[in-house]
Point group: D2
Chain length 348, copies 4
């Protein structure tokens, strides 16, 4: 069975395992205050060209999302997100459990626009009978890449920043798969740009080569105030915090974080171009490490005997979109075999 | 200025004021355990033909909604509602503040169907990768009448009950304007039916003749367990609870609750039939005490000089729907004057 | 049966009932934005000599406490209170339900000192391994009078203010029984002083002559930001808000609020002095409207046949403290009868 | 510097690191549903002689505590714990952030008794004016070993179980350092006994040889219902859940979990007996891996030049209790050196 159903099937890149083993018997203090975390923070500040950014390490994405959002909002405030946003769909209501509504915007490709945010905020702050009967928008949450593999351009992010400034909203970018976004062909973002444009974003480790771990980069000092209390209260303060430091130290040494993503993107592109050539339609136009191919259900059933992948959604009575992911760990031969198989797909 | 913008412009029906003054110097214990509350509870149980129903008095609608929903759900559970549902739009995130997501269903007229609930639950409980990544549906919230003045039929409620049983969901009916629903021409519901069909519903006082107050009727004993703790924790336990008892005692004596509504409905019908005759279109087909007339913006501007009402929404570039409410306190001459005025409206 | 078990046995002072009846058919907008609320706000600002103070009306004490505290604190912050504080003991965890810990200080008489607060804060902010593993103190909650009938002096409040400034804590005074505190013989506080010294306090109506209602006075503008959202989310925004405005309008006209309290204090003093003369010991030295007399259990049992009061606590194997409350509505003859009865108490 | 300040200074036991490296490139599904987790669950069920117990893996202690407690309680319920309990002091209000009060009992040695629980519950459920004004006790939380290194006997736990049954409370045992408790000389508990006696307990990994991880063992099926939703919502569902499975697989193979603890206990006993012989007083009588020695402040200052340890608390004007921890990773020579040093301590 060739497994392509997600990008967290294996452990960590061997360089990370080596670092963990090598440092195993070191004695350090806990809770992220050790020298490895300190070093990793410096490396990330450098990569962001932002020595003033605060960097905090958390274990996973849901934890990071709820810690950041919970720390940012007042009780009556909500966070704007695409209907398909991870916080709205796949976190078992973790944001609501912190007391906050997710204010959703429709989106076909997972992205939201500055115009949508503007209209939602205008409707709220200029409501006829006073806005206080409704949840106050206070943050915009986006993912890059989105759940659908699409990416924001620098222009789009700049526009979101401006509408956030207009209504005094925080801008928060979930980067669970950030490396794959930054490595994709039509990307024009950089860590520096993200750290200047958002109030907070995070650099995903779990899906990008680490065993686990997300590095939250907070550029807005008011959001950083007492942030360690928020981490601890949310159960996100790892006792042996150095495990996170060591992993991000390794990822941000010798460009590893980006070269791992480059491998995944090269294979994903290979698949994409091949499918394009075969006139297989795509559910989303994804330049990142997830490809959503629309194929006949009967063919998909056949394919599942040799490949594992996710059935994303029915697209019509006889077809579905199937999601194929590459990662730092994907072998090129797997993609070659998949392409060969696809060539036998009946035309849609 | 003739005011028709909502149904809580005045104090209470004079019979209620009389009762409050008459009992003012009585000494009673607090927190809803006094003889007036006891009596009112009995009167409501009788009106529901349900001596086993538990009856609790709360001060307002938002408070009742969050107390009931918060008491019913486990932390990872959510409540299904129409997108336009009061809990989703007009309670400043009170439900989310209790930790729960509102799982929304699209609806044009404010009603949701058993089929919609079934599809949402099916998608959840049979999710490909395990349902635990998503909020678990556990309750259906409906209003009767809805925000749009529409009402459920006994058949529709029965179907909702069945789908609730299928997926083990509570069925909760918000009756903030219940009297107007029960008094409307095409109603086929009764308090008895509601108490048999829902797990919990409430009988609105605030908008139906009282100074304030909602009577929650709980038929499902598991929901009633420790409910007084929930009321107290939610800040809903009125120290001088008898004020609620006295009001509901009065409303449920000599059929007052229903006769007040009958007055409002008669005037609302008068307006509705007149507008129909004039070929004025309606935004919703409402048989209750709210009428949503679509009129030219220029005419509405003119009308606002003499009448107050709510501009509900733009319906096209030059028209809007305007909401006119009647209540137990509305004078017939006001509706007559409005009808006369409408006769001068340019045809749409 | 002569009832002295609490200070909310009756409805409202007749002047309030008159005002409610007289205004009953007025049409006003809802949610506390009507002219009566506006007028009452002005009267209270004047009484506080503080035209910049924000005044909000809420229905009850628990609701006010959780709304104020929930609006003030960040998620990882807590509120300091006496162990016997109402928020810690008698609100069914309403503060915790908003996510906040009550950080308790021991107190025999219900009061806490600046020194206690200082030590608690010092221990927190200078904790050996970083304070972020513990709840951060951010507010001091006191009641005046306390649950035990005791009152703070201006000097004590000034000291609390200073320690709050030192550690950047909010100072919040629960005034559920405030009128009785301000009217007592050894009081040296005033509404003006309270509004200058606290960040927020409230003027209790429920226990001081109103049907219900508490007026929160917020002097610190940062606390007032978006406060109406907080009221709505907490279910505390009364639809017919004018009911609160009309009551406080009445209480703050012709000095009613204070003259009602003066009556209660006069009777409470009469009881206190009589008991002192009889050498009956007191559980607390209360100059306000609650007297806590230590009496033999056998005598209390006898007394309960004619008088209702609260058994506060056992003080030894054969004695208990009993609480007797006076209020604006207490008749002098009741206190006279009680005194006569007490004269038959066996000496302790 | 010889470090003895806590029991999580190093990474993991080498056998765990080996297992992680060996399995690194395996492809498995996520979220704890992989074969390693399945295997580890079986091994723990066997060790508990309880094939019906549910076993869930979480990353850390605070996360486990809030997930278990949040899943167990209704909103108005609280958890009983010692004042010094970890959930009350060192989790930044994580329990309150889930909405629940910690109902504290005084304790000098970190343990609470059945009698204390009984009195607290009796006072609640038989409260004079109805219990609903107070938080309802619904769970007892204990740690074994406690924060102070003390342990419960089977008799004491049995009594707690009975009082829990009497008042229908859950019994939850925090086993962050469980291995050290089970390995200590006067222990008479076993995993089997714990799984029969508690509703839920957890087997600590972080402080007992793993990189991280706690295994919650739930014997009460009603507590286990939907527990995976609770884990996910609390941000505790590790994407690469197998990391937890692999670690517990290793710990529960060849008795590793217990032999690691035996090493720590042997060294701790060595220290304890030596200190006893020197007549050094102990703050607590701890048979586990933490020793709390009372020493002159001047000597402690001297000692800190070569050893790191925690200053626990001042015991009088010139002495403090110092905490020394051993662990699976402590070298015997370190303890020998410490003992040699202590011999130079001035007698107290």
């Amino acid at each position: 069975m060739i497994r392509l159903e997600c990008d967290y099937l294996e452990g960590a890149h061997p360089a990370i395992m080596d670092a963990l083993v090598k440092t195993n018997m070191e004695q350090t203090c806990g809770y992220g205050l050790d020298p490895h975390c300190e070093h990793a923070r410096n490396l990330i500040q450098e990569a962001c060209c932002n020595p003033d950014a605060a960097v905090h390490f958390l274990v996973g994405g849901t934890q990071t999302n709820k810690t950041v959002i919970g720390a940012a909002l007042r009780p009556y405030q909500g966070v704007i997100a695409a209907e398909s946003g991870h916080i709205n769909v796949h976190e078992t209501g973790a944001i609501e459990a912190c007391g906050h509504k997710v204010l959703t915007l429709p989106s076909d490709d997972g992205k939201i626009t500055a115009g949508q945010v503007d209209r939602l905020c205008h409707a709220h702050f200029f409501a006829q009978e006073g806005p206080e009967h409704m949840v106050q928008p206070a943050m915009v949450y986006i993912s890059n890449p989105t759940e659908n593999g699409t990416v924001y351009s620098a222009k789009e992010l700049g526009e979101l920043r401006r509408v956030c400034d207009k209504y005094r909203l925080y801008l928060f970018l979930d980067g669970a798969r950030l490396s794959y976004g930054l490595a994709c062909p039509n990307n024009d973002l950089s860590l520096e740009f993200l750290s200047r444009t958002t109030d907070v974003f995070y650099i995903g480790g779990t899906k990008c080569g680490a065993l686990f771990g997300e590095a939250a980069v907070i550029s807005n000092p008011s959001l950083n105030k007492d942030f360690r209390y928020a981490i601890k209260q949310n159960g996100g303060m790892l006792a042996k915090g150095r495990l996170l430091g060591i992993q991000f130290e390794t990822l941000f040494t010798d460009n590893l974080y980006f070269s791992l993503a480059a491998h995944a993107i090269r294979l994903s592109e290979k698949l994409r171009l091949a499918a394009q050539k075969m006139n297989i339609p795509f559910r989303y136009d994804s330049p990142t490490n997830q490809q959503f191919l629309i194929l006949p259900d009967s063919f998909l059933e056949e394919l599942q005997k040799e490949f594992s992948f996710e059935i994303w959604e029915k697209t019509d009575g006889t077809h579905s979109a199937a999601r194929f992911c590459t990662s730092w760990a994907t072998k090129e031969e797997y993609i070659d075999l998949l392409i060969k198989k696809l060539e036998k797909a009946p035309s849609v």
